[in-house]
Symmetry: C2
Subunit: 330 residues, 2 copies
């Protein structure tokens, strides 16, 4: 059977451009013993993918080799199976890549319970949810009554972070780049305050929104919010550094704050990446499922259509043009 | 009995100047029940004292009130006692202040075992040693074979950090501001490498000295060493922020490094101050005594003479003019 896939053929300079990719037509192979054929239905687009396209660094995960199918996570249906662990018709999740079909040994694929909507899986139980849980709960160790500031609050991870924090009894302040996103955060997700970071008075607005200071700052963006939040940290505050999307598309990343306050306020700043925490993923997915079933988590997906929509669509993450978790329906 | 003491009468603008202080002559009072009279023999001068002189911030310890005797730690001999816990002739340590004599209830004063040299107490068992132990061991969690970089390595804390690290089997690289200090670190204290940070090629020198990267960076200074060390951090590296002396005497502290590497390398950056860890001080002093008795710790004191030498002498800490732990013998 013929299908389309997209290979990475060039590394990005600063921005992701269509010439980095090549769409190819492939043919599914006959299944060997132990193999399965899957048809991908939903493909997740995430900021980390820019790092996977870039030249090797001592980063946490090796880059995609040139000429290989671009790496991504997604959900697929099992169409044919010579592997007894995977029944035909089962829904699976894993690193399937930018492809319509794939033949796999099933390694790294997780079988999903039947009946779960694909967008809920990708928005809540998969990477965004577990990333939020790992950073906020496992590392930030929030206490009820404390104040959280989260940047990129309308993004896939930020929106989960804020809602988990509300469920844990925190005061929650988020920043986002449009008034529409801010309204969504306050009116739909129950944030105590959402601030458009492009407004003139970010510093004052953040200070006003955190009358008791900031106990946890969850960093998704870098940029001006970083400095405004840092200035308002309380003694023994925790800063969780999950993303720096404002600096991913520049060759001259902005300096960070001076470290004197790290001593004066005895701050802890921690970076993390999920590949260090895979062992804990099933337990964290379960926790996210519980919040969701309790009605404490809402999500919205920004859905593109068709494999090739990924090529241009991924840049919505860096322009802030997406409204909700970016995914591609195939 | 008449004695001299020095009061803080003005707050520093940027630097510490003699007009901030006033020397007064006081009279010891008759001891009430429970009180003791002590004669201070050795007074410690430490970088943190600049913070204690400065206007109140949300820092970890309130400033010295104007008109009060300047705060400092020191060692004293008990001259007279109406407190059964303190025998006449005992040696005590505590926050005695810039004064020749003091009448005290004994609260906060620790009785020292007999026969300990005062400079060893102030250099190894007191603040420098326990600060080094808390930061390096309790927070940095070093492993044998890992690489440490410590800035301000010839300073009172830095020299203890490096020697503890050697005792724990680490590769130890220090930075200091003169060639003489670097020779002392390598030849006397056994550092694997000491680098004069004022040399032109700090970045290259640090990279060459840490062929396996940096696992723990112990920050005492800020300034150019911070950036050079940060660039060479290994994945899962720990940065302990203890001091930023390069920035204490300026109104325009230098920016810190961009935070992208905090994610890529999953770094942890932690600030600390000893008042949060007083409970653990006896245990840590004991550990420092063990290193010392094992011959693993050397120290050198830079001794000034006479109470009033503190007024100008304290600035040696900020110019880097001291060679060893700065103290005043009374």
């Amino acid at each position: 059977m013929e299908y389309k896939a997209i290979k990475l053929v060039k590394r990005p300079d600063i921005t992701i451009t269509p010439d980095l990719f090549e769409t190819v037509t492939l043919q599914t192979s006959e299944l060997k013993d132990g193999e399965i054929l899957v048809k991908q239905t939903h493909m997740s687009l995430d900021p980390a993918m820019k790092g996977w396209m870039s030249p090797a660094t001592d980063s946490y995960i090796p880059p995609v080799a040139l000429g290989e199918i671009m790496r991504s996570s997604g959900i697929a249906e099992v169409l044919d199976s010579k592997n007894e662990k995977f029944a035909v018709g089962a829904q699976v999740m894993g690193m399937i890549g930018w492809t319509e079909y794939a033949v796999s040994t099933g390694e790294g694929l997780q079988i999903l319970p039947p009946g779960l909507p694909a967008d809920a899986v990708l928005c809540v139980l998969a990477l965004p949810g577990i990333t939020a849980y790992q950073g906020l709960i496992e590392m930030g160790k929030p206490k009820a009554g404390e104040t959280l500031v989260v940047s990129g609050a309308a993004g896939s991870v930020g929106s989960m972070v804020g809602q988990i924090a509300k469920a844990e009894g925190m005061r929650v302040v988020g920043t986002a780049g449009t008034d529409e996103k801010c309204r969504w955060l306050e009116e739909e997700l129950g944030f105590d305050k959402a601030i458009n970071y492009k407004s003139d008075n970010l510093g004052d607005a953040l200070k006003d929104a955190t009358p008791d200071g900031v106990d946890i700052y969850f960093e998704n963006t870098g940029g001006p919010v970083q400095h405004a939040a840092f200035e308002n940290m309380n003694a023994h505050g925790r800063i969780i550094v999950c993303g720096m999307i404002a600096d991913y598309n520049t060759n001259t990343p902005a300096p960070g704050p001076n470290w004197i306050d790290i001593i004066r306020k005895r701050l802890t700043i921690q970076g993390f990446a999920m590949p260090d925490h895979w062992d804990n993923v099933p337990a964290m997915s379960q926790k996210m499922a519980e919040y969701w079933m309790n009605g404490q988590i809402k999500y919205r997906a920004h859905t593109l259509h068709g494999l090739e929509s990924a090529v241009e669509g991924i840049n919505l993450l860096f322009s802030g043009g997406n409204t909700g978790k970016l995914l591609v329906e195939l």
